[in-house]
Amino acid sequence: MNLVQRFINPMLSKEFRLRMRSKKTPWAISLYLMVLGGIIFTFIYLYNNNQAYFDPQRSREIFMMLSIFQFAMVSFVTPGLTAGTISGERERQTLNILLTTNLSPSKIIVGKWLSSLSFMTFLVIASIPLYSIVFLYGGISPSQLIKVFGFYIISMLAIGGLGILFSTLFKRTGVATVVTYAAIIGYTIGTYIIATIIQDITQISSMSKTTATYWMQILYSINPFTAILSIFDEGPVVALNYYMGGVSSRGPQLPLEPYWMFISFFSVITLISILLAIYFIKPVKKKLLRRK
């Protein structure tokens, strides 16, 4: 067996083949680009209507819009791609056979997870021409562009990890998909609302602002929408300007910039989700906690 074969995950190569052979795939790519392109071109049209000059500030806003829409699409599509991977095998009655092969549970989970996400990555890469059109107008630095794509990748990994975890936990794909959407929506809205409540309370009460603002910053940093806005120096977390390198006299500093806080936190979510999925897919599990 040569070196390349040794490192190819059989699950991954089979999934690639199945995915790209499906008649739905070209339709999914077209639909994705049509929706994203339709929204963004409508924005460009409305923003630049009857204007005879380029305004870099407006171009930046359009770029932000595109990034937020793309993130919304990633959040919408990724659960659909991942939440059915293990439960789908179970429903198709192929999981038991897989579990009796030499494929380890980790290879099954990682193979399924990466193959689903590779299709999502493919969709994001396919949208690069849309970015290049918006990027042409200026107002965006290359580092911001790289950060946005880094943000997508880590979000996909984490949302995909959650999708795989719920797909392992729930027998039905429908339930796993709904729970994944609920978890993502609940997390996004929940962290934002709690951070906002803390912000309001610190303004009207005499409670310890130091601790409260610290948690508020953390919550805003790990919220996907406020985190993506922070890439463009926008949003509540940037307005507070507490993070390291900013004005430090107004409260405790975060150990990292909001963007890197988000990346770190979502990396941890990814890791935990995948490890739990590997544990739960095992047909015979060792007890996680032993009673003494």
């Binding site: 067996m1 074969q5 059989p10 699950m11 190569s13 089979k14 083949r17 199945l18 052979r21 499906s22 198709r92 009655q93 192929t94 038991n96 056979i97 897989l98 579990l99 009796t100 092969t101 030499n102 494929l103 047909p283 015979v284």
Partner: protein, 308 residues
Amino acid sequence: MIQIEGLTKRFGKMEALKGITFEVEKGSVFGFVGPNGAGKSTTMSILATLMAPTSGKAYVGGYDVTKDPKKIRKQIGYMPDFFGVYDNLKAEEYLNFYASTYGISQAERMKIIPQLLELVNLSHKKDSYVDTLSRGMKQRLGLARSLVHNPEVLLLDEPASGLDPRARIELREILKELRSMGKTIIISSHILPELAELSDVIGIIEEGQMVTIGNVDQIYRQLQGHKQLKIAVLDREHELIQHLKAKTYIQGVYQENGYILADYLGQDEEQIKLLQELVQANFPILTFSEVEGNLEQIFLEITRGVGS
């Protein structure tokens, strides 16, 4: 090759296995028979390392199913009672994928896949998508899939269920070939006659208890104490009945649908002698055979006690 000792399995309050014990020798075929829900699939799942027993021990090739599942998986080819296939995958690719899950090199796969397809008579379907194959073909492909890593043990859970008579016969022929290859096979069914011809030993299970174990003949004798001979002659029927009644090893003689049925208590050697005697006495014999349909009755007799 396979040892099961006092195996129990509970699902909440329901006890699916109540301490079953049996052994399967290397190279033999063990027919696991019982009605639906008797515990056959649960036993198979435990042997396939897909389920942990509540208590008791199960060994495959000397390895404990709970302690060395990885080593056992290399030794077994498992075919569950119900299994699906992947859409958009051709028969050859299907086998190729499963072979790759066992770490078999591409060159090796290219050699064994045509051989496996030939074994299960699917060479002509190698480029067909698996979801377009008939149920019988899918079962045969599933059997080929369970053989990709050349396992010593085959665990076949109701492989013939839902197949038409032709597909059953084709499957039985393949299984005979596998037996001749020296594979140790556990094959389950809820139909005793289906396994009678194929199995060296038959174990009958009901409600999680092993009711009886032995070869078909032993089980037959154990329950009925005799077998039934079915004879048809062109004429001289009355004379033949009298002839048979005179034999000490024949308990009773009846006539049914143009056949003479005789309850036979003797050994195989005496049965041969009886036939030779009838031929020498110039009886115009059309049929001389054992009644096979009684296996169904045996099965009902055996399982009736535990079930009720």
